[in-house]
């Protein structure tokens, strides 16, 4: 299990390594700040994100409204602060879904091999025939547009790629002597998978999951942007950009700040992923 003693020792090392490497340290701290902002956002927001200020329709950034107001007089900054939580929650839950299902499928396929492996991998190939966003769109088309369904769609659409990557990593563990040894002394499949496979591919898991969180944020906001994700008046960043795209001429700030937020968060996540990869695999 993850919390067993065998696992907690390398975890501490990872923490130290992150703090030693500059890129990892700063991207990690930045990520912490973003998550913190997602948590405390609603309390530090200067205005109510859904309140209409009748005296301030589509006002540019000012002292009262730091990032301006939208077409129906709502404060952009407050909406973005609330939106941090929405976007992060959707992306994180989608990634958890990908992580759990992808790891399960990937490790099981690698472990069992044979016909099960073949069958599942062919199904993954078929799902991979659709570019991720198109698969997500198809799922949203079936379930109907909403924030929860966007999350499910993004989560499911990343499973094929994730499980194939994990399967590859797990296959290399399968060849190793210690798995052979465990099996010969009669360890159960479950024990081998949870105590040997998963801890040994944990590095790969951490790096891939980080990268997938980044693309989940992009996917979430893309669905929001085309009106198939979180529905107005939910202050999701992609949805906000969708509302802002009709006022490019009148109000540049509507289509600028939420996008900047998405880019900054995804950039941080990718930097962290890159840094973690460097830590785990100094060769590449």
């Amino acid at each position: 299990m993850f919390w067993s003693r065998q696992w907690s020792v390398p975890r501490l090392e990872l923490w130290e390594k992150i703090m030693q490497q500059k890129k990892a340290k700063y991207s990690f701290l930045m990520m912490l700040c973003i998550v913190l902002l997602g948590i405390i956002g609603p309390w530090i927001a200067p205005h109510d994100p859904t309140k209409t200020y009748y005296e301030a329709f589509m006002q540019g950034p000012s002292k009262d409204f730091w990032l301006g107001t939208d077409a129906i007089g709502r404060d952009i900054l407050s909406r973005m602060l609330y939106g941090t939580r929405v976007t992060l929650t959707v992306a994180l839950l989608a990634s958890v879904m990908t992580f759990v299902a992808g790891t399960l499928i990937g490790v099981t396929c690698a472990y069992l091999g044979g016909i099960v492996d073949n069958l599942i991998m062919r199904i993954m190939d078929i799902m991979l025939a659709l570019p991720g966003i198109v698969l997500a769109l198809a799922i949203v088309a079936v379930l109907g547009p909403s924030q929860e369904n966007a999350m499910i769609a993004i989560g499911i659409s990343s499973i094929p790629a994730f499980s194939i990557l994990i399967r590859g990593a797990a296959l290399s563990i399968k060849q190793s002597g210690y798995v052979e040894a465990s099996r010969s002394i009669g360890s159960s499949n479950w024990w081998i998978i949870t105590r040997q496979f998963i801890p040994n591919i944990s590095n790969v898991l951490i790096v891939y999951t980080t990268m997938f969180i980044g693309s989940a944020i992009l996917g979430t906001s893309a669905l929001g942007f085309i009106g198939l994700g979180a529905q107005p008046p939910t202050p999701e960043w992609g949805t906000m950009l969708n509302e802002g795209k009709n006022y490019l001429r009148e109000a540049w700030w509507l289509a600028t700040f939420p996008g900047l937020a998405i880019t900054a968060v995804v950039f941080t996540v990718y930097l962290l992923g890159d840094a973690l990869r460097d830590i785990f695999d100094p060769k590449s």
């Binding site: 062919r122 199904i123 190939d125 078929i126 799902m127 025939a129 659709l130 570019p131 991720g132 966003i133 198109v134 769109l137 198809a138 949203v140 088309a141 079936v142 379930l143 109907g144 547009p145 980044g214 992009l218 906001s221 893309a222 942007f225 085309i226 009106g227 198939l228 992609g238 950009l241 802002g244 795209k245 490019l248 001429r249 540049w252 289509a255 600028t256 996008g259 998405i262 880019t263 900054a264 995804v266 950039f267 996540v269 990718y270 930097l271 890159d274």
Partner: protein
């Protein structure tokens, strides 16, 4: 070699078959009554029954699939609920616009991506390399639709150089192609850099440099030529992936392509159209990937296609 190609084609057919099952099932996966959801709340019982009959939803599932599959093989993807026109006609009308933009974006991606990649490899571990790699990570983090909005904001709204959206002329194509191309260039530049760095560490490069050869020739003739084959493969994959990326970016620029068609279909719950566009995008992707794989095997004699697993 022949064996590999045949195997590759066969596995492609299997994937296409699976894809058709997937798109066929889309309509059956809808929670509740699909016909009622497609027609909305105000539909009459007659309308619902007539559509149910038209879609053949009363027949057994296997029969329905066989009807669907035989239609697909004949190029019949059903009829759009919204326009009443055949789905295949609608897609055929839109595809040229998408293909045109995909090719234009690819040109942009190749020029920027390979250029930056070679530059980064040449100045490996210098600030130039660092800047290019940071730029590339940054490019990966920008949502395509937002980059699209930004270029419209700057080049159309403020500078007035290009039309905002809606047309399909050459001038209308510049901004979308630039947007999509830049997004693709980021991945391409990383790959080019990685390939170049590896090749540049070879002995023959050192020999070429030691004998005083012009650096440009070393880079372009000796090194780059060897990186080209994997790059070509990736470009092929990107071309296929462009179809996916274009779905969202088309939306920003009001580009009348297959992506816009697909999204309109989803918004209006036009299921025959959703099935058709999904199947079409998937099929194009699979065909392009197979083509690239086969070309790759033909081009590079070093690839051992007998052991390569047909994916």
């Amino acid at each position: 070699m022949k064996q590999y190609i045949v195997k590759r084609l066969l596995s492609g057919i299997v994937v296409l078959f699976g894809l058709s099952v997937f798109t066929f099932l889309l309509i059956h996966l809808i929670p509740g009554d699909p016909v009622r959801i497609m027609l909305g709340q105000r539909a009459t019982v007659e309308q619902i029954e007539s559509l149910r009959g038209e879609l053949g939803l009363n027949k057994p599932l296997v029969v329905q699939y066989l009807d669907y599959a035989s239609g697909v093989l004949k190029g019949d993807l059903g009829t759009s609920l919204k326009t009443g026109r055949p789905v295949s006609t609608e897609i055929a009308d839109r595809f040229p616009a998408t293909a045109k933009m995909a090719l234009a974006s690819l040109v942009v991606a190749v020029v920027i991506g390979i250029g930056l990649g070679v530059l980064a490899a040449k100045y490996k571990d210098t600030p130039i390399d660092g800047a290019i790699m940071t730029f590339s990570t940054f490019g990966m983090s920008i949502p395509g639709f937002w980059l699209g909005l930004l270029v419209i904001l700057v080049f159309s709204v403020h500078l007035g150089w290009f039309p905002i959206a809606g047309g399909t002329g050459l001038k209308d194509m510049v901004l979308p192609a630039f947007t999509l191309g830049t997004l693709l260039a980021t991945a391409l530049s990383r790959l080019t850099r990685a390939g170049m760095v590896e090749v540049l560490s070879n002995d023959y490069i050192r020999t070429a440099r030691a004998k005083g050869m012009n650096e440009r020739i070393v880079l372009l003739r000796h090194a780059f030529r060897n990186v080209m084959i994997p790059i070509v493969a990736v470009i092929g994959l990107e071309l296929a992936g462009l179809l996916g990326g274009a779905v969202i970016v088309e939306q920003v620029f009001g580009w009348p392509g297959v992506g816009t068609l697909a999204i309109q279909a989803i918004s209006s719950r036009d299921f025959p159209m959703i099935q058709g566009t999904t199947l079409f995008i998937g099929a194009v992707y699979v065909l392009v990937v197979i083509l690239i794989d086969v070309l790759y095997a033909l081009l590079d004699p070093r690839i051992d296609y007998t052991t390569k697993e047909g994916v």
